[in-house]
């Protein structure tokens, strides 16, 4: 295997492969930073152009794009409180407070290092464990997805902020609006009043509305005196701070890698769970949400680690581990390749070239990220009365670009208003996003499970993975309640 890997690096010396990695990273970085353009869309948009590249160059371009986009999503999350990607939503929780305190570069620096760390470690994990772990992807049937979805929902504890009840209301609202559209199991239409709702509520306008537009509305309230930013520190995190976050990065990387392997779970689930677990494991959970670096490191590590995780079932079984990886299958077929059980046997040079490219791509991403940090921090020096309208225009444009319909823009504005009202009443908006991410998975897998068991609920309690996930979910909730009780007792 080592000699395979070494020979995998050889084609990287070819100029068009280098160009593919650098080009892919640049495009990915921009796609990630633009709210509304996701990694999946970026890959889909660039796919037709790769038709003319060699198979290896095409895959290097797209995987570099994928990785860099996962990092890019955190830039606007940190600087503007607008997640550039659904998976970057948890990054806003602590990244944006850091910016408000005047340390955007610390948050950005942490996020790029965490992304790089996760990228390298998970790629090595991919090289070593792809074949043995492939079976894990198959062990997830409908009951397991249902349990994973429920476990994911427990992350609401970390997002709810001050009030559990408000967090749960957000979750229920999210689950409710998730039922809009054609139901996947029976084909029935639900809550469709206009044609545009056939496919359900799209996530991007919702994300833009709840985060970006409500933020813009909040900014409008501020008086012009506070619009001029007083001081922005350009300092990156210190070595000590990096080392302090090391365990957070390790945890985030592991969570991201394993969730990446499970097809259909998705990177947003990974970063929400990573944030929740980090908060739970922390010795000072009350500080989360005020700008702690661990709160940036864990979800950022997780969403980059998903990239390699998603390649495990893709390369070994031909099953994509994420939406972006599903589009990557298209890249393989355009080149006349079939990812799957025969790929390692028929085209080992391609697979190992891809591995080597992933490692190199992460180095390019780190360099670009570090160079860009100072630049992005400077964006914040633009007075808010100038920056805010620009942000509004770009995000609305992104909304339109995503679906080519004006309806998305109205949707974003509507959710913007909703987000504004929610913030006014101190309702956290993130639980809605969490419920939107998990809702479909929970519902369809629950119903598929019951079709499989012919209506018997015992199917959820017969399978080891399901039971384990239920237990973890239960422990997670119990632990948080215990801690809250204890804190109340200490105070009283």
């Amino acid at each position: 295997m080592i000699d395979h890997l070494v020979s995998g690096f050889i084609p990287l010396a070819h100029w068009n492969n280098i160009l593919a990695i650098v080009g892919g990273s640049i495009v990915g970085y921009l796609v990630g930073a633009l709210p509304g353009l996701s990694a999946t869309m970026g890959i889909a948009l660039c796919l037709p152009f790769t038709f003319y590249l060699s198979p290896l160059a095409s895959l290097l371009f797209l995987t570099s794009l994928y990785g860099a986009a996962e990092y890019g999503g955190s830039i606007t999350a940190v600087t503007l409180n607008i997640p550039g990607e659904t998976a970057a939503t948890p990054t806003t929780f602590d990244g944006y407070p850091l910016t408000k305190k005047g340390f955007p570069a610390k948050a950005l620096g942490m996020s790029i290092v965490a992304s790089f760390y996760a990228g390298i470690v998970s790629t090595i994990a991919l090289i070593l464990t792809a074949v043995p772990l492939a079976g894990m992807a198959l062990s997830f049937g409908p009951p397991e997805y249902f349990a994973l979805g429920l476990f994911g929902l427990t992350a609401v504890a970390a997002l709810a902020g001050k009030s559990w009840v408000k967090g749960c209301i957000g979750i229920l609202f999210g689950l409710l609006i998730n039922t809009i559209g054609i139901d996947d199991i029976s084909g029935t239409s639900r809550y469709i009043f206009i044609n545009a709702l056939y496919e359900g509520l799209p996530l991007v306008p919702l994300l833009i509305g709840l985060f970006a537009i409500s933020e813009v509305l909040m900014t409008m309230e501020e008086s012009t005196q506070t619009m001029v930013v007083t001081k922005i520190s350009g300092s990156l995190p210190t070595l000590k701070e990096y080392l302090r976050c090391h365990t957070a990065m390790v945890r985030g990387t592991l969570i991201g890698y394993f969730i990446g392997i499970i097809p259909g779970a998705g990177k947003a689930v990974a970063s929400f769970i990573a944030y929740n677990e980090e908060k739970r494991a922390s010795r000072h959970p009350e500080l989360f949400g005020t700008g702690v670096l661990e709160g940036v490191a864990a979800p950022e590590a997780a969403n980059n680690s998903v990239v390699s995780g998603a390649l495990v079932p893709l390369l070994t079984l031909g099953i994509p581990g994420s939406a972006a990886a599903a589009v990557l299958i298209g890249a393989f077929t355009i080149q006349g390749l079939q990812p799957g059980p025969l790929l390692f046997v028929k085209q080992p040079e391609l697979v190992y070239g891809l591995f080597a490219g992933l490692l190199a791509g992460n180095v390019v991403m780190l360099a670009m990220g570090l160079l860009g940090t100072q630049l992005w921090a400077k964006v914040l020096l633009v007075p808010k009365n100038i920056l805010t309208p620009i942000v509004l225009t770009i995000t609305l444009f992104a909304c339109y670009a995503e679906s080519n319909s004006l309806f998305s823009i109205w949707l974003a504005l509507g959710f913007g208003l909703l987000g504004y009202i929610m913030r006014k009443f101190e309702f956290p908006v993130a639980p809605i996003v969490l419920a939107m991410v998990l809702g479909k998975m929970i519902e369809t897998s629950f119903r598929k499970s019951l079709i499989l068991s012919e209506g018997s609920a015992s199917i959820f309690f017969e399978r080891p993975v399901t039971i384990a996930l239920f237990v973890i979910a239960m422990v997670s909730i119990a632990f948080q309640i215990y801690r809250a009780k204890k804190k109340a007792a200490d105070r009283g």
Partner: protein, 330 residues
């Protein structure tokens, strides 16, 4: 300053001359064009309702690549995804029927006209240009499965609790295939709808369902790797790569369901434009490069011209409509 003045002095007469000459050339263009203008004079857009990399998209891109030498203008594939094809239909119908916007068409898209799309579109609005590919569906089990033949599977299903069969979305062609077989053979089944090809595959390989209905393309390499066994296919004839796998028809079932991929346009194309488009597609299909792509992906091509293809599409549309009424709308 001096430089700018001199530049201006040169520039203005230059610009005037250009305008003058372009006026002349415009004036003379129609006279020449009467004989020279030949379709196409600008790039042709091919709309595709599935994302880049999907089978119909790859087919369109291969045709585009191999049609290059037969057209003096490029063809461009544009992916218009969403709404079970509705988004693509809408933009096809929004353009002129002049041959500069055509689309790929598949059996799934035409079958979808029986569903919610019926409100906005009808099969009569299309002109079918050329049939390119044809592929049946198949019923697959894992190699370890006790079912060696379709008969064993059906016998087992009749004596045991409902057989679970995994496949694509409710009311899709795969769903109809499973329901039709269940009805003809009298075996009780539960259909588990999955999101797409790779989800169906995962459910089979992970032992979540014992049997799946799917397209041969997604199964080829797993059969080759010895992980999957194919019990039956749903076409008129056996597939060349699986010579020993019988068809449903051979086994005595009156079920033939195939999916086709080809090209269509908005109704009302000028006959000469249609002839050029059809001829180009036909020539591209005969290119060695195109044949190589087919062989690599175990795909089969069969050219059909407008009349033949229209008849085939209509027949399939009626058949699926009847099937839908028979098995679903009871």
């Amino acid at each position: 300053m001096n430089f700018i003045k001199r530049f201006g002095r040169l520039f203005i007469p230059g610009a005037l001359l250009t305008v003058l000459f372009s006026g002349y050339s415009l004036g003379s263009a129609p006279a020449q064009a009467a004989e020279a203008i030949k379709f196409p004079i600008k790039p042709i857009t091919i709309l595709n309702s599935s994302p880049a990399g999907s089978p119909a998209d790859v087919m369109a891109r291969q045709i585009v690549q191999h049609a290059k030498k037969y057209l003096n203008q490029p063809m461009v594939v544009v992916n218009k995804t969403g709404g079970s094809g509705g988004v693509m239909f809408a933009s096809l119908m929004a353009d002129q029927a002049d041959g500069y916007t055509i689309s790929t068409i598949t059996s799934a898209l035409i079958t979808a006209l029986h569903g919610d799309l019926k409100k906005d579109f009808s099969i009569d609005q299309f002109e079918f240009l050329a049939h390119v590919q044809k592929e049946p569906f198949c019923i697959a089990v894992k190699s370890e499965s006790p079912f060696k033949t379709l008969k064993e599977m059906i016998d087992h299903a009749k004596k045991n609790p409902r057989l679970k069969i995994g496949g694509q979305a409710t009311y899709s062609a795969l769903h109809l295939l499973a329901l039709a077989l269940a009805e003809e053979s009298g075996m009780p089944i539960s259909y588990v709808p999955y999101g797409g090809g790779s989800e169906i595959l995962t459910s089979l390989l992970g032992n979540h369902v014992p049997v799946v209905v799917t397209s041969p393309t997604t199964m080829n390499q797993y059969v080759e790797a010895g992980q999957v066994r194919i019990l039956v296919t749903s076409g008129e004839k056996r597939l060349p790569q699986w010579k020993n796998v019988p068809t449903l028809k051979e086994l005595g079932y009156n079920i033939v369901i195939t999916q086709y991929r080809g090209f269509a346009a908005k109704k009302g194309l000028p006959p000469d434009v249609r002839a050029i488009l059809v001829d180009t597609i036909k020539k591209a299909m005969a290119e060695p490069g195109f044949k190589e792509y087919l062989a690599k992906n175990s795909q089969f091509a069969e050219f059909m011209g407008p009349e033949e293809f229209t008849a085939a599409v209509r027949a399939d549309y009626e058949y699926m409509g009847k099937l839908l009424q028979k098995v679903v709308k009871k």
